[in-house]
Amino acid sequence: METWIKKTVIVIVILCLLSPIGILLTWNYGDAWGEWSEVKVGNETWEPKSYSGGAPLADYDVPGWEDQFMASLGYIISAFVGVFMVILMSLGVAKLGEIYNEIRGKNTEDDRSDRD
Protein backbone atom coordinates (compact mmCIF):
# COMPACT_ATOMS: atom_id res chain seq x y z
CA MET A 1 0.00 0.00 0.00
CA GLU A 2 1.28 3.46 -0.81
CA THR A 3 2.38 5.45 2.22
CA TRP A 4 -0.10 8.28 1.63
CA ILE A 5 -2.96 5.79 1.85
CA LYS A 6 -1.62 4.44 5.17
CA LYS A 7 -1.33 7.98 6.54
CA THR A 8 -4.82 8.89 5.35
CA VAL A 9 -6.28 5.74 6.93
CA ILE A 10 -4.72 6.81 10.25
CA VAL A 11 -6.26 10.28 9.89
CA ILE A 12 -9.64 8.69 9.14
CA VAL A 13 -9.46 6.41 12.21
CA ILE A 14 -8.53 9.42 14.39
CA LEU A 15 -11.46 11.42 12.97
CA CYS A 16 -13.80 8.48 13.71
CA LEU A 17 -12.61 8.36 17.33
CA LEU A 18 -12.91 12.15 17.70
CA SER A 19 -16.33 12.28 16.01
CA PRO A 20 -18.30 12.54 19.31
CA ILE A 21 -16.98 16.12 19.50
CA GLY A 22 -19.58 16.72 16.79
CA ILE A 23 -22.44 15.95 19.20
CA LEU A 24 -20.92 16.89 22.57
CA LEU A 25 -20.11 20.42 21.41
CA THR A 26 -23.73 20.93 20.38
CA TRP A 27 -25.41 18.78 23.08
CA ASN A 28 -27.63 21.58 24.33
CA TYR A 29 -28.30 22.94 20.88
CA GLY A 30 -31.32 22.24 18.73
CA ASP A 31 -31.27 20.55 15.34
CA ALA A 32 -29.79 22.14 12.27
CA TRP A 33 -32.21 24.63 10.71
CA GLY A 34 -34.91 22.83 8.74
CA GLU A 35 -34.07 19.39 10.14
CA TRP A 36 -36.54 19.28 13.03
CA SER A 37 -38.64 16.18 13.69
CA GLU A 38 -41.30 18.60 14.92
CA VAL A 39 -41.45 22.35 15.30
CA LYS A 40 -43.80 24.86 16.87
CA VAL A 41 -45.30 27.24 14.32
CA GLY A 42 -47.34 29.78 16.20
CA ASN A 43 -49.48 27.69 18.53
CA GLU A 44 -49.43 24.59 16.41
CA THR A 45 -46.93 21.80 16.20
CA TRP A 46 -45.86 20.98 12.67
CA GLU A 47 -44.41 17.59 11.84
CA PRO A 48 -42.85 16.63 8.51
CA LYS A 49 -44.40 13.61 6.79
CA SER A 50 -42.18 10.59 6.87
CA TYR A 51 -42.14 8.15 3.97
CA SER A 52 -39.77 5.46 5.14
CA GLY A 53 -39.66 3.13 8.12
CA GLY A 54 -36.58 4.89 9.43
CA ALA A 55 -32.87 4.22 9.20
CA PRO A 56 -31.03 1.48 11.14
CA LEU A 57 -28.66 3.95 12.80
CA ALA A 58 -30.93 7.01 12.78
CA ASP A 59 -29.18 10.21 13.87
CA TYR A 60 -25.86 8.32 13.88
CA ASP A 61 -26.74 6.47 17.07
CA VAL A 62 -27.66 2.99 18.17
CA PRO A 63 -31.39 3.21 19.00
CA GLY A 64 -31.89 3.78 22.71
CA TRP A 65 -28.36 4.93 23.53
CA GLU A 66 -29.33 8.32 24.83
CA ASP A 67 -27.00 9.72 27.46
CA GLN A 68 -23.84 11.53 26.44
CA PHE A 69 -21.56 8.56 26.96
CA MET A 70 -23.66 5.98 25.13
CA ALA A 71 -24.56 8.42 22.34
CA SER A 72 -20.84 9.12 21.86
CA LEU A 73 -20.20 5.39 21.61
CA GLY A 74 -23.05 5.10 19.11
CA TYR A 75 -21.58 7.99 17.16
CA ILE A 76 -18.17 6.30 16.95
CA ILE A 77 -19.80 3.05 15.80
CA SER A 78 -21.78 5.02 13.20
CA ALA A 79 -18.59 6.73 12.04
CA PHE A 80 -16.82 3.41 11.41
CA VAL A 81 -19.90 1.83 9.79
CA GLY A 82 -20.42 4.90 7.58
CA VAL A 83 -16.77 5.12 6.55
CA PHE A 84 -16.78 1.44 5.62
CA MET A 85 -19.94 1.85 3.56
CA VAL A 86 -18.96 5.02 1.69
CA ILE A 87 -15.59 3.54 0.76
CA LEU A 88 -17.25 0.32 -0.39
CA MET A 89 -19.82 2.21 -2.43
CA SER A 90 -17.38 4.64 -4.05
CA LEU A 91 -15.05 1.79 -5.00
CA GLY A 92 -18.15 -0.01 -6.28
CA VAL A 93 -19.03 2.94 -8.50
CA ALA A 94 -15.42 3.07 -9.77
CA LYS A 95 -15.60 -0.68 -10.53
CA LEU A 96 -18.89 -0.14 -12.35
CA GLY A 97 -17.13 2.57 -14.36
CA GLU A 98 -14.44 0.10 -15.36
CA ILE A 99 -17.05 -2.40 -16.51
CA TYR A 100 -18.83 0.38 -18.39
CA ASN A 101 -15.55 1.25 -20.11
CA GLU A 102 -14.91 -2.33 -21.11
CA ILE A 103 -18.34 -2.59 -22.66
CA ARG A 104 -17.71 0.68 -24.45
CA GLY A 105 -14.29 -0.61 -25.52
CA LYS A 106 -12.39 2.40 -24.21
CA ASN A 107 -9.40 0.34 -23.10
CA THR A 108 -6.78 0.30 -25.79
CA GLU A 109 -3.65 -1.86 -25.55
CA ASP A 110 -1.89 1.18 -24.09
CA ASP A 111 -4.20 1.34 -21.15
CA ARG A 112 -3.85 -2.37 -20.48
CA SER A 113 -0.07 -2.31 -20.32
CA ASP A 114 -0.40 0.60 -17.92
CA ARG A 115 -2.53 -1.38 -15.55
CA ASP A 116 -1.26 -3.85 -12.95
Binding site: E2, W4, I5, T8, V9, V11, I12, L15, C16, S19, I21, G22, I23, L25, T26, Y29, G30, D31, A32, W33, G34, E35, V39, V41, W46, E47, P48, K49, S50, Y51, S52, G54, A55, P56, L57, A58, D59, Y60, Y75, S78, A79, V81, G82, V83, M85, V86, I87, M89, S90, L91, V93, A94, L96, G97, E98, Y100, N101, K106, D114, R115
Partner: protein, 232 residues
Amino acid sequence: MHIPDGYLGPATCVFFYIVMIPVWYKAFKMTSKYLSDKSVPMMGMLSAFVFLVMMFNWPVPDGTTAHMVGAVLVAILLGPWAAVIVVSVVLVIQAFFFGDGGLTSLAANCFNMAFVMPFTGYYVYKALMKFFGKENAKTMALAAAIGGYVGINIAAFCAAVEFGIQPYIAPGYCPYGLNLSIPAMMLAHMLVAGPVEAVVTGSVIYYLKTYSPHLLELPKVMPGGESVGNMD
Protein backbone atom coordinates in the same frame (compact mmCIF):
# COMPACT_ATOMS: atom_id res chain seq x y z
CA MET B 1 -27.98 21.21 5.12
CA HIS B 2 -29.57 17.77 4.73
CA ILE B 3 -33.21 18.45 3.87
CA PRO B 4 -35.32 15.69 5.48
CA ASP B 5 -38.43 14.04 4.05
CA GLY B 6 -41.63 16.01 4.40
CA TYR B 7 -40.10 19.45 3.95
CA LEU B 8 -40.15 19.67 0.16
CA GLY B 9 -43.37 19.26 -1.79
CA PRO B 10 -43.74 16.60 -4.51
CA ALA B 11 -43.11 19.07 -7.37
CA THR B 12 -39.79 20.20 -5.89
CA CYS B 13 -38.65 16.63 -5.22
CA VAL B 14 -39.53 15.46 -8.73
CA PHE B 15 -37.92 18.54 -10.26
CA PHE B 16 -34.57 17.82 -8.60
CA TYR B 17 -34.63 14.15 -9.60
CA ILE B 18 -35.21 15.26 -13.18
CA VAL B 19 -32.26 17.65 -12.92
CA MET B 20 -29.95 15.24 -11.12
CA ILE B 21 -30.44 12.04 -13.14
CA PRO B 22 -28.61 13.44 -16.21
CA VAL B 23 -26.01 15.08 -13.92
CA TRP B 24 -25.31 11.75 -12.20
CA TYR B 25 -25.13 9.99 -15.55
CA LYS B 26 -22.73 12.57 -16.98
CA ALA B 27 -20.59 12.49 -13.81
CA PHE B 28 -20.46 8.70 -13.95
CA LYS B 29 -19.54 8.71 -17.62
CA MET B 30 -16.87 11.40 -17.22
CA THR B 31 -15.42 9.80 -14.11
CA SER B 32 -15.17 6.34 -15.63
CA LYS B 33 -13.71 7.69 -18.83
CA TYR B 34 -11.11 10.09 -17.50
CA LEU B 35 -10.26 9.04 -13.98
CA SER B 36 -7.44 6.50 -13.91
CA ASP B 37 -6.81 3.63 -11.51
CA LYS B 38 -4.45 5.92 -9.64
CA SER B 39 -7.29 8.20 -8.60
CA VAL B 40 -9.57 5.44 -7.33
CA PRO B 41 -7.97 5.05 -3.86
CA MET B 42 -8.20 8.84 -3.51
CA MET B 43 -11.92 8.63 -4.32
CA GLY B 44 -12.40 6.11 -1.52
CA MET B 45 -10.37 8.10 1.00
CA LEU B 46 -12.14 11.34 0.13
CA SER B 47 -15.58 9.77 0.47
CA ALA B 48 -14.61 8.71 4.02
CA PHE B 49 -13.26 12.18 4.72
CA VAL B 50 -16.41 13.89 3.44
CA PHE B 51 -18.61 11.54 5.48
CA LEU B 52 -16.60 12.28 8.64
CA VAL B 53 -16.34 16.06 8.36
CA MET B 54 -20.13 16.18 8.07
CA MET B 55 -20.41 14.38 11.44
CA PHE B 56 -18.76 17.31 13.19
CA ASN B 57 -21.65 19.61 14.02
CA TRP B 58 -20.63 23.07 15.11
CA PRO B 59 -22.76 25.32 17.32
CA VAL B 60 -24.51 28.27 15.66
CA PRO B 61 -25.29 31.27 17.92
CA ASP B 62 -29.05 31.03 17.22
CA GLY B 63 -29.19 27.63 18.91
CA THR B 64 -28.97 25.46 15.80
CA THR B 65 -25.99 23.59 14.37
CA ALA B 66 -24.12 23.42 11.07
CA HIS B 67 -21.34 21.36 9.51
CA MET B 68 -18.88 21.65 6.67
CA VAL B 69 -19.19 19.44 3.56
CA GLY B 70 -15.79 19.02 1.93
CA ALA B 71 -17.06 19.00 -1.66
CA VAL B 72 -14.70 21.74 -2.84
CA LEU B 73 -11.67 19.84 -1.55
CA VAL B 74 -12.76 16.82 -3.60
CA ALA B 75 -13.33 19.05 -6.64
CA ILE B 76 -9.81 20.50 -6.40
CA LEU B 77 -8.18 17.09 -5.93
CA LEU B 78 -10.12 15.02 -8.47
CA GLY B 79 -12.12 17.52 -10.52
CA PRO B 80 -15.74 18.61 -10.04
CA TRP B 81 -17.32 15.66 -11.89
CA ALA B 82 -15.61 13.21 -9.56
CA ALA B 83 -16.83 15.34 -6.63
CA VAL B 84 -20.42 14.84 -7.85
CA ILE B 85 -19.91 11.07 -7.50
CA VAL B 86 -18.04 11.15 -4.18
CA VAL B 87 -20.43 13.52 -2.39
CA SER B 88 -23.54 11.82 -3.84
CA VAL B 89 -22.29 8.45 -2.55
CA VAL B 90 -21.91 9.95 0.92
CA LEU B 91 -25.39 11.54 0.79
CA VAL B 92 -26.96 8.23 -0.29
CA ILE B 93 -25.38 6.34 2.62
CA GLN B 94 -26.35 9.12 5.05
CA ALA B 95 -29.96 9.07 3.86
CA PHE B 96 -30.43 5.29 3.85
CA PHE B 97 -28.48 4.23 6.92
CA PHE B 98 -28.43 7.25 9.21
CA GLY B 99 -31.68 9.05 8.39
CA ASP B 100 -29.70 12.21 7.63
CA GLY B 101 -31.50 13.83 4.70
CA GLY B 102 -34.67 12.37 3.26
CA LEU B 103 -35.14 9.94 0.40
CA THR B 104 -37.63 12.14 -1.47
CA SER B 105 -35.29 15.10 -0.99
CA LEU B 106 -32.13 13.14 -1.82
CA ALA B 107 -31.84 14.64 -5.31
CA ALA B 108 -32.29 18.17 -3.94
CA ASN B 109 -29.58 17.54 -1.35
CA CYS B 110 -27.29 16.14 -4.04
CA PHE B 111 -28.01 19.17 -6.22
CA ASN B 112 -26.95 21.53 -3.41
CA MET B 113 -23.99 19.71 -1.89
CA ALA B 114 -22.76 17.40 -4.66
CA PHE B 115 -23.32 19.54 -7.75
CA VAL B 116 -23.65 23.28 -7.07
CA MET B 117 -21.08 23.31 -4.30
CA PRO B 118 -18.13 21.51 -5.96
CA PHE B 119 -18.62 23.35 -9.26
CA THR B 120 -18.87 26.86 -7.78
CA GLY B 121 -16.02 26.21 -5.36
CA TYR B 122 -13.88 24.80 -8.13
CA TYR B 123 -14.45 27.74 -10.47
CA VAL B 124 -13.76 30.23 -7.68
CA TYR B 125 -10.53 28.36 -6.93
CA LYS B 126 -9.50 28.36 -10.60
CA ALA B 127 -10.33 32.04 -11.07
CA LEU B 128 -8.34 33.00 -7.97
CA MET B 129 -5.33 30.94 -9.07
CA LYS B 130 -5.41 32.77 -12.38
CA PHE B 131 -5.67 36.07 -10.52
CA PHE B 132 -2.77 35.25 -8.16
CA GLY B 133 -0.65 34.25 -11.13
CA LYS B 134 1.75 32.06 -9.16
CA GLU B 135 1.26 28.63 -7.76
CA ASN B 136 2.65 27.90 -4.31
CA ALA B 137 1.27 26.38 -1.09
CA LYS B 138 0.07 29.77 0.18
CA THR B 139 -1.79 30.94 -2.91
CA MET B 140 -3.32 27.51 -3.43
CA ALA B 141 -4.45 27.29 0.20
CA LEU B 142 -5.98 30.76 0.07
CA ALA B 143 -7.76 30.09 -3.21
CA ALA B 144 -9.02 26.73 -1.88
CA ALA B 145 -10.22 28.33 1.37
CA ILE B 146 -12.18 31.03 -0.45
CA GLY B 147 -13.49 28.44 -2.91
CA GLY B 148 -14.71 26.34 0.02
CA TYR B 149 -16.33 29.32 1.72
CA VAL B 150 -18.14 30.48 -1.40
CA GLY B 151 -19.11 26.93 -2.40
CA ILE B 152 -20.78 25.99 0.87
CA ASN B 153 -22.60 29.31 1.10
CA ILE B 154 -24.03 29.05 -2.41
CA ALA B 155 -25.14 25.51 -1.56
CA ALA B 156 -26.74 26.73 1.67
CA PHE B 157 -28.50 29.48 -0.25
CA CYS B 158 -29.93 26.92 -2.69
CA ALA B 159 -31.18 24.84 0.25
CA ALA B 160 -32.70 27.96 1.83
CA VAL B 161 -34.58 28.77 -1.38
CA GLU B 162 -35.82 25.17 -1.69
CA PHE B 163 -37.12 25.30 1.90
CA GLY B 164 -38.46 28.82 1.62
CA ILE B 165 -40.54 28.50 -1.55
CA GLN B 166 -42.62 25.63 -0.12
CA PRO B 167 -45.22 27.78 1.70
CA TYR B 168 -46.01 29.42 -1.64
CA ILE B 169 -46.14 26.27 -3.79
CA ALA B 170 -46.80 23.34 -1.46
CA PRO B 171 -48.72 24.11 1.75
CA GLY B 172 -48.22 21.49 4.47
CA TYR B 173 -44.54 21.10 3.74
CA CYS B 174 -41.75 23.36 5.08
CA PRO B 175 -43.71 25.83 7.21
CA TYR B 176 -41.28 28.73 6.89
CA GLY B 177 -40.94 31.06 3.93
CA LEU B 178 -37.93 32.70 2.33
CA ASN B 179 -37.99 35.56 4.84
CA LEU B 180 -36.97 33.08 7.56
CA SER B 181 -35.13 30.33 5.68
CA ILE B 182 -32.58 32.57 3.95
CA PRO B 183 -31.40 34.50 7.04
CA ALA B 184 -31.26 31.31 9.14
CA MET B 185 -29.34 29.24 6.58
CA MET B 186 -26.99 32.08 5.71
CA LEU B 187 -26.24 32.89 9.36
CA ALA B 188 -25.30 29.26 10.03
CA HIS B 189 -23.15 28.92 6.94
CA MET B 190 -21.56 32.36 6.61
CA LEU B 191 -20.70 32.51 10.29
CA VAL B 192 -19.95 28.90 11.25
CA ALA B 193 -19.86 26.19 8.59
CA GLY B 194 -18.26 28.47 5.97
CA PRO B 195 -15.24 29.41 8.08
CA VAL B 196 -14.77 25.74 9.08
CA GLU B 197 -14.99 24.73 5.41
CA ALA B 198 -12.45 27.42 4.49
CA VAL B 199 -9.94 26.49 7.19
CA VAL B 200 -10.12 22.74 6.54
CA THR B 201 -10.06 23.01 2.72
CA GLY B 202 -7.20 25.53 2.82
CA SER B 203 -5.18 23.57 5.38
CA VAL B 204 -5.47 20.26 3.57
CA ILE B 205 -4.38 21.86 0.28
CA TYR B 206 -1.51 23.67 2.04
CA TYR B 207 -0.38 20.43 3.67
CA LEU B 208 -0.60 18.41 0.46
CA LYS B 209 1.20 21.04 -1.62
CA THR B 210 3.98 21.23 0.98
CA TYR B 211 4.45 17.55 1.85
CA SER B 212 2.81 15.44 -0.88
CA PRO B 213 2.55 17.57 -4.02
CA HIS B 214 2.15 14.44 -6.18
CA LEU B 215 -1.31 13.95 -4.65
CA LEU B 216 -2.37 17.26 -6.19
CA GLU B 217 -1.36 15.91 -9.56
CA LEU B 218 -3.47 12.80 -9.71
CA PRO B 219 -5.42 12.38 -12.92
CA LYS B 220 -8.63 14.35 -12.58
CA VAL B 221 -11.73 15.05 -14.60
CA MET B 222 -11.95 18.59 -15.84
CA PRO B 223 -15.34 20.19 -16.48
CA GLY B 224 -14.69 20.14 -20.23
CA GLY B 225 -13.95 16.45 -20.15
CA GLU B 226 -10.20 16.22 -20.64
CA SER B 227 -8.16 14.38 -18.06
CA VAL B 228 -5.10 16.16 -16.79
CA GLY B 229 -2.33 14.89 -14.59
CA ASN B 230 -1.19 18.25 -13.33
CA MET B 231 -2.48 21.68 -12.45
CA ASP B 232 -2.70 23.86 -15.47
